[in-house]
């Protein structure tokens, strides 16, 4: 029986979000909060492994109280338990402080039921670093396996896992001892519509909610803004290249103009074999 914990985050949907042009900050109200899309794949993979090997899937998140909604979404996908750590002391955390707080939560979850495997998403769409997963692994001193696109085997009895890690030009097959941490690629699975019983269970489900005081052995100087070595010094709107010339005339004339632009750069086409 495996205990798999997925780390998940509630994020503003950056695809629809509007920026306040005066302050260059996000207008959070303009975007719905969603389960980080990459983390849905992490939960789905945990659920599939549970179906394959038996066990329990927990999810953990650090965030403000409304993050309960993201946990419920994970219950819909098939997670069994959800843990929210929420406290003002966590606010303003960069990746180093985030991985510290989550590690403390994972240690506590591990006391309730020892953890065999932790699964993170590839990245969050707001933080967008992919650093939190490997950070947790380092702190727990377990092997991090990033860019996982397929889980070949998890063998608790013999204490190992085998996965495919995506590389720029292929993949590698890597074996690790358990426990270990995966950061998974989107292509690892597809998240289907949730079965009705899960949806019903999610509606009623109340996650475990912990504050800093509920965690053990916490060094408060390592939390939140205080525990974050990096600070955002300045934000500005991204520079876009200036709009160029709009071509006019008939489509044929416009096409001719493009052709002459191409042919001015003939050296680019020199090695080309011409067909037709």
């Amino acid at each position: 029986m495996l205990h798999i914990v997925a780390c998940i985050k509630q994020v503003p949907d950056t695809k629809i979000i509007k920026m306040n042009p005066k302050t260059n900050t996000m207008d959070r109200a303009s975007a719905p909060a969603i389960l980080n899309p990459y983390d849905a794949h992490a939960v789905e993979e945990a659920v599939r492994l549970k179906q394959r090997y038996g066990g329990t899937v927990s999810v953990v998140t650090m965030g403000p109280p409304p993050a309960v909604k993201a946990i419920k979404k994970c219950i819909e996908i098939g997670a069994d338990e959800g843990y929210l750590i929420t406290d003002r002391a966590f606010a303003g955390a960069d990746t180093l402080a985030t991985s510290y707080s989550l590690t403390k939560a994972l240690e506590k979850i591990g006391k309730i039921l020892p953890i065999d495997l932790i699964i993170c998403g590839k990245m969050t769409i707001d933080g967008d670093t992919g650093q939190v997963g490997p950070g947790i692994a380092r702190r727990l001193d377990i092997p991090p396996l990033t860019s996982v696109k397929k889980v070949v085997e998890v063998n608790k009895e013999k204490g190992y896992a085998i996965v495919h890690r995506k590389l720029e030009d292929g993949y590698e097959v890597i074996q690790s001892t358990l426990p270990c941490l995966f950061s998974v690629e989107k292509e690892i699975n597809e998240v289907p519509y949730s079965p009705l019983p899960n949806v019903i269970r999610a509606a009623r489900y109340q996650p475990h909610i912990w504050s800093v005081d509920d965690l053990e052995g916490v060094d408060r100087t390592l939390l939140g803004l205080k525990g974050s070595p990096t600070i955002v010094a300045k934000v500005w709107p991204p520079e876009k290249p200036k709009g160029g010339e709009m071509l006019t005339g008939t489509p044929q004339e416009q096409a001719s103009r493009i052709l002459s632009l191409l042919l001015e750069r003939k050296e680019l086409f020199r090695d080309k074999e011409v067909t037709g």
């Binding site: 920026m19 991090p144 934000v235 489509p251 493009i258 191409l262 037709g276």
Partner: protein, 346 residues
Amino acid sequence: MSNLEDYKGVWVFIEQKEGKIAHVSLELLGAGRKLADKRGVPLAGILIGHQVKPLADEVFAYGADIVYLYDAPIFRHYRTETFMRAVIHCVETYKPEIFLYGATSTGKDLASAVATDLATGLTADTTMLDVDADTGLLEASRPAFGGNIMATILCKKDRPQMATVRPKVMKALEPQKGRTGTLIEETLSLGEEDIRTKVLEIVRDTEKKVRIDEADIIVAGGKGLGSKEGFQLIHQFAEVLGASVGASRDAVEAGWIDHHHQVGQTGVTVTPKIYFAIGISGAIQHIVGMHNSGLIIAINKDPNAAIFQSCHYGIVGDAFEIVPMLIEGFREALGKAEEVQYGGKV
């Protein structure tokens, strides 16, 4: 908190695979050189692998003053556990103030582990770098919140200041043949029995590799092509031009083309000499991946499409009308040019 005075010099992690240095590492040597010169400190490369010593010359040629070398069989394949230990050992011994990694899967994996262990700051996916000459404070800027803003990140109290940097945004220097520097060979007592991970096999893509980041010409298509069949038009045009095929994320998500072709924030950053954006609306997340291209030509049927704010030449029109004309015209023109050329030779 680190004693800042103890940390000197700019470092670049030299990523290599099977005896070939990743291009991004050469780009970072170029960027690192500028930072080091501004600060008046040396630039170093840290090279880890098995039988990689000969690569040190290349690292010097591209601008490094020092190469730290860890060469042993245990480093044959990249593994977080082994590489991390070498890097941490080196940082603790020689204490750099700035440390750059390519934002590749390997670079990000390594940098995240190292930063956590050293409890220092790490900025991800940087696209702009500068340093304050006096304080040595690194200004690492990157797109944030899905590319909606740019942010400058500082790490004031801890060293080294670390960043992963996107491939293709910095420029490598012209290599200077024969340029040398100091090679420092280090060893680590690390046995296979200390390591919990094993690479069982490496499988390289056998199908023709798509490396759109290296292409001179890219024809990119978006959701505007309407369907997988419609997207064939992009392939046809690319083929006559000898170009690589790029795509927007929406085209990739529609399943018309593989993710390797995606240009943009969550895809590849490209800087070809010519970039065609066809049926692409010009979302900021796409623009950040291609706006440094030499010549950007956009074709879109919507005169208000954002892409027209980000191109050198724009055509308002239907791709299915314009592109076939370009294909025909180009074939003809090139055919004629070749005829003349061959004719002239006789």
